[in-house]
Amino acid sequence: MTSAAVGPSIDLFRDRFVRITREVGRRIVGHEEVVNLTVTSLLAGGHVLLEGIPGVGKTSLVHTLADVLHLTFSRIQFTPDLMPADIVGTNIVQEHSHGGTFFEFQPGPIFANVVLADEINRATPKTQSALLEAMQDVSVSVGKTTYQLEQPFLVLATQNPLEMEGTYPLPEAQLDRFFFKLKVTYPSEESMHEILERTTTDSTTPVTRVVDKPEILEMRQVARSIPIARPVQAYAIRLTLGSHPTSPYATPLVKRYVRYGASPRAAQALVLAGKIQALNRGQAFVSIDDIRRVALPALRHRLLLNFEGEADEVNTDTIVTELLGSVATE
């Protein structure tokens, strides 16, 4: 690629990004930021944990996104009796027509481009861990065979923060594999009017598929091409290190309430998401503001609180916000 081709590729990227978010926005009302960050995560090759009370449109968002992206979609409703094989698939015995039997692999719902893991915290840790390999390596192993998942692969998990009884909170290892944790908030009054108008009439809002698989993969490639200056990258590293209580960049809240800070995956997420944010602005460079914009969804689920933090019900958003305010940008 020459420098002359960079400009058009940026414009193309931006145009596609805008089309995706606009198309999703036709059906999902009042969650522009969530849509934007979900698409960002998709283009970065990450997975998203959506947290919100029931009925705010989490599942609809994932459905719509799959429709718009022209990707295969599957939904897994996580329940306590859900087994790993129910997710990844299993070998079943088949009979040959000429007699005899053989094992045939029956792929599970994980074999899709967009997987909705609804209420993921209701399944047992054993089942939750079935997603680990798929999310990290984009492959699943059944028996002695490893099956590659098709790219793009995006897991969108949802969890309800209120009904915690009978749930199994996600372990840190699994939480860390989510690129972003997005909080789907309650829609505003104006958005509610829009939602009601769209959903209480006999007319449905159709969405068109604006981007297909190859285009998404191309967008991913473009996103990784954008250069990042060392000082900006250093800021992302300082933010990540600052989430550790023993770090010199640690803030008072981090020192008091955090047991373990964010992993290097957090820094990767900050930089990658920053690059996509920069492209989305039509720029060929990553700025400090791009990093700051994605710091909250990239870091909030990667902070492991200590006993005092849990007892005081400290919100990790508060800690990250303080971190953003105290870590030097220069």
Partner: protein, 453 residues
């Protein structure tokens, strides 16, 4: 996807140049801003110091020094701040922020400095160079106006210089001790130059007050710093011409040339008497005493010049002549003290060694028999004896320890005799003067031996 080159591209150079220009403009503005922030403070400091110097009578040097050194330092600081420096990431970030470039300049500055080239970096640098070129840095970093600071600085500097010039003028009129000494030197030491009328009057008042009041000198006179300075100078005055000028200045009537030695002698005498005033501060007494000595010597010399050997001999005898001149009036010192428990009061009389044995016996306690001094009568004698007896245990200089004794002893002219013994030849060995005290140690010795009240 793209090849990487390590050679700096033209866009990178443009970014570097543009950034350096912006940084230079920024430095100029920052240094000017700092200069005009500090200049009024410095000027105010100089003005304040000048005002204090004027009030306290100091020299103008400190105020001028503060202004000069301060502004020189400030100018040096400004020049150093304006010097070309490396554009760091922090500087690039600051300029980026000032120009509202959204981090593009900062990022481009890093890539331009590190010469990392690929298609994306080149594209980034190209765009950054274009945007950088579009920025009007003179508009972003305009020259500092600071009209109020400039006006305030100018006014205060001018005021400080004006005050300093006033101080210099006043300094010539002896506002500072240094200048006062110089003025004191100039007035009486230079022949033909008259003594300042004000100081002349103060000196005359002091001498008159000492003659009339004796024990209570006018505190206002002795408190005069200028008079003290003048007396200190006069005490060191040995030039005969200058002393003549002083005598002439202090005389009420015009002095004929043949009367000069007498006038000088008379002034020496007046000065000596004033120096013996108990209430006078020690330093004034010393100065007056020195002046008296110098005047006596100068008078003797004048007498020599006018071929008057008799008067000259009298004058050259110094304190001896002085003692002779007023032997009846200057009370020789008697001290009455307890000799022992059974002996009652013993009386020691210090009198002129040349006194005839059958002379006037009235030179005892009470201050002599001279009617002019109001002494010699029984009530006076009784009063003096009672006073000395009572106060002997609480001797304090200026109170009951008369300075006559000290002066006579110091000059080796003290005589001693016993009133209860038969008049006879004076035993000089008993009145041997102490070794002469060096001039420089004199005040220290006095301070040591004279008990403070």
């Amino acid at each position: 996807m793209s090849e990487t080159d390590t050679h700096p591209g033209p866009a990178g150079q443009l970014v570097r140049t543009g950034l350096a220009a912006a940084f230079r403009q920024r430095r100029i503005r920052e240094s000017s801003r700092h200069f005009w922030k500090a200049a009024p403070i410095l000027a105010a400091l100089g003005l304040g110091l000048a005002a204090i110097s004027l009030w306290a009578g100091w020299a103008a040097i400190p105020a001028l020094g503060v202004l000069g050194v301060g502004f020189a330092g400030l100018t040096a600081y400004t020049l150093v701040r304006r010097r070309a420096r490396t554009v760091t990431d922090a500087v690039a970030a600051g300029i980026d922020r000032d120009a509202d470039l959204g981090g593009e300049l900062r990022s481009a500055a890093w890539f331009a400095a590190h010469d990392t080239r690929d298609a994306w970096t080149d594209f980034h640098l190209d765009r950054a160079a274009v945007r950088l070129d579009a920025v009007n840095w003179l508009e972003r970093y305009p020259a500092v106006r600071a009209p109020r600071a400039k006006l305030a600085t100018s006014v205060m500097v001018i005021a400080a210089l004006g005050l300093s010039m006033t101080m210099t003028d006043r300094g010539r009129l002896s506002s500072s001790p240094l200048k006062a000494n110089a003025a004191a030197d100039a007035a009486p030491l230079v022949p033909g130059q008259p003594l300042s009328p004000e100081l002349q009057k103060q000196l005359a008042d002091l001498l008159l007050a000492a003659e009339l009041a004796g024990a209570s000198t006018d505190a206002r006179l002795t408190a005069s710093a200028e008079l003290r300075d003048l007396l200190a100078q006069l005490g060191e005055l040995r030039d005969s011409e200058a002393l003549k000028e002083l005598a002439r200045a202090m005389s009420a009537n015009p002095i004929l040339s043949d009367q000069m030695s007498k006038e000088m002698q008379a002034l020496a005498e007046r000065t000596r008497r004033a120096s013996e005033t108990a209430a006078m501060p020690p330093e004034l007494r010393n100065a007056l005493e020195k002046l008296s000595d110098n005047l006596s010597i100068a008078a003797a010399k004048e007498m020599d010049d006018s071929n008057d050997p008799v008067a000259a001999a009298n004058a050259q005898s110094g304190e001896t002549a002085k003692s002779k001149a007023d032997a009846p009036s200057s009370a020789s010192i008697q001290s009455i003290q307890d000799a022992d428990a059974g002996a009652g009061a013993g009386m020691i009389m210090m009198s002129d060694e040349n006194a005839t044995p059958g002379g006037d016996p009235g030179l005892g306690a009470g201050g002599g028999s001279a009617a002019a001094n109001g002494g010699g009568t029984m009530p006076d004698i009784a009063k003096a004896l009672r006073q000395e007896t009572v106060e002997a245990s609480t001797d304090s200089p200026g109170e009951n320890v008369t300075t006559d004794t000290r002066h006579d002893t110091e000059h080796g002219s003290a005589t001693i005799t016993y009133t209860q013994s038969a008049p006879g030849a004076f035993d000089r060995s008993r009145a041997a003067a102490p070794p002469p005290v060096p001039e420089g140690r004199r005040s220290a010795v006095q301070t040591y031996f004279i008990r403070k009240p």
